[in-house]
Symmetry: C2
Subunit: 221 residues, 2 copies
């Protein structure tokens, strides 16, 4: 395990699922850190310095060494603090990476669009895409969590799903259609380690509203 003399800093914006992925991993490992809230409309010098490529949160800084991209950070945390492993043996680790990437590639964009797009036709198309992707996840869920009895890498990656559900309500994600995923979503969100990390609903909502407005403004320009 890493020494207690070290400096761990996390830059984020409360409400961002990508930030909360990292916070859940740190909570699971019991790593103390200094949290710095950023402002996406007026990004801090630290954010621009530490993530010059994407200029996006979250950024994780361990003893002055910065790392970006939420899943890359979660893997780094698992590589560095060995207690409570997030990724299992090589084969199941490969499957976990496959499904985490699937969530980023196939669920994130249609989930965001399903909630925030105003055009009804586009919204419907995004919802169809999301349902198709969620169907794969529903079939993949074999135990209580994707990780088995305790949550792991895919659960952490999939935190976007209960967050979107929390904001959008159940119509986005009917439990008749996805019974296992709906139960997982509740179990994961209510897990003591996850629950301690998640902000209240109004803060989640405020983040998503601000991001949607910012994206809409960019599209108009």
């Amino acid at each position: 395990m890493a020494s207690s003399q070290e400096e761990v800093i996390l830059l984020g914006v409360i409400g961002s699922p990508f930030l909360h992925r990292v916070q859940i991993a740190l909570k699971l490992k019991g790593v103390e850190y200094k949290y710095l809230e950023d402002d996406l409309n007026n990004k801090s010098d630290l954010l621009l310095k530490y993530n010059p490529v994407y200029k996006m949160i979250p950024v994780f800084v361990h003893n002055e060494k910065p790392i970006s991209e939420s899943l890359v950070i979660v893997e780094y945390i698992d590589d560095t603090w060995k207690n409570n492993p997030i990724l299992p043996d090589p084969y199941h680790r490969a499957l976990a990476r496959f499904w985490a990437k699937f969530i980023d590639d196939k669920c994130v964009a249609p989930a965001a669009k399903s909630v925030f797009i105003v055009d009804e036709k586009e919204k419907e198309k995004a919802k169809e895409e999301l349902f198709e992707a969620l169907n794969y996840l529903e079939n993949e869920l074999k135990g209580k969590f994707f990780g088995g009895d305790e949550f792991g890498f895919v659960d952490i990656a999939a935190v976007i799903i209960p967050i979107i559900q929390e904001i959008a309500g159940l119509q986005l994600f009917p439990s008749e259609k996805f019974p296992k995923l709906s139960k997982w979503s509740q179990d994961f969100y209510n897990h003591p380690l996850v629950n301690q990390v998640m902000p209240p609903k109004d803060q989640l909502f405020a983040y998503f509203k601000a991001r949607a407005q910012s994206l809409a403004a960019k599209t108009k320009n």
Copy 2:
């Protein structure tokens, strides 16, 4: 290290940069495998069985356990066969994952479009995007390879660049503009382990032409 009693199968299509990533990793580790050429216009039952989500090559099958997605496969190979490490210590491993993801997210699509799109305006836009991304890689290249003195994960991920250069010629990728990347591209492609894996130019060209025609046909429908 894994036992010599095992069965290692690789499904691919010669000319695919994603297949060649996996082949370079296997060559570096000295792993023997059975190669099965697939046909993207008439996909094999094995491909549909082993990668039901994307139905795409490459698929790696180790003792009947299938893994898809080229970078996930390369990590699995590195986790399973420990000689000649592809990924280094946790911090540099995180940086390598960051840049490999950057190549997939920011280089692959504009590189393909720069070569195959007919519309001049769109082609120019793709080229601009590609140059912006290559600029980051040019600045990131500190040694002979991204991995240092010997090649590693980012070099393997970036094999798409010399492949595209091989097909498109130098106009896509001028050495005055990207001197370090141009030298890397030659050094990596001519590395004995890489060179043994890469098919002749006409086979690369045939693959890309077929893919472009298939994509164009889909766009028209």
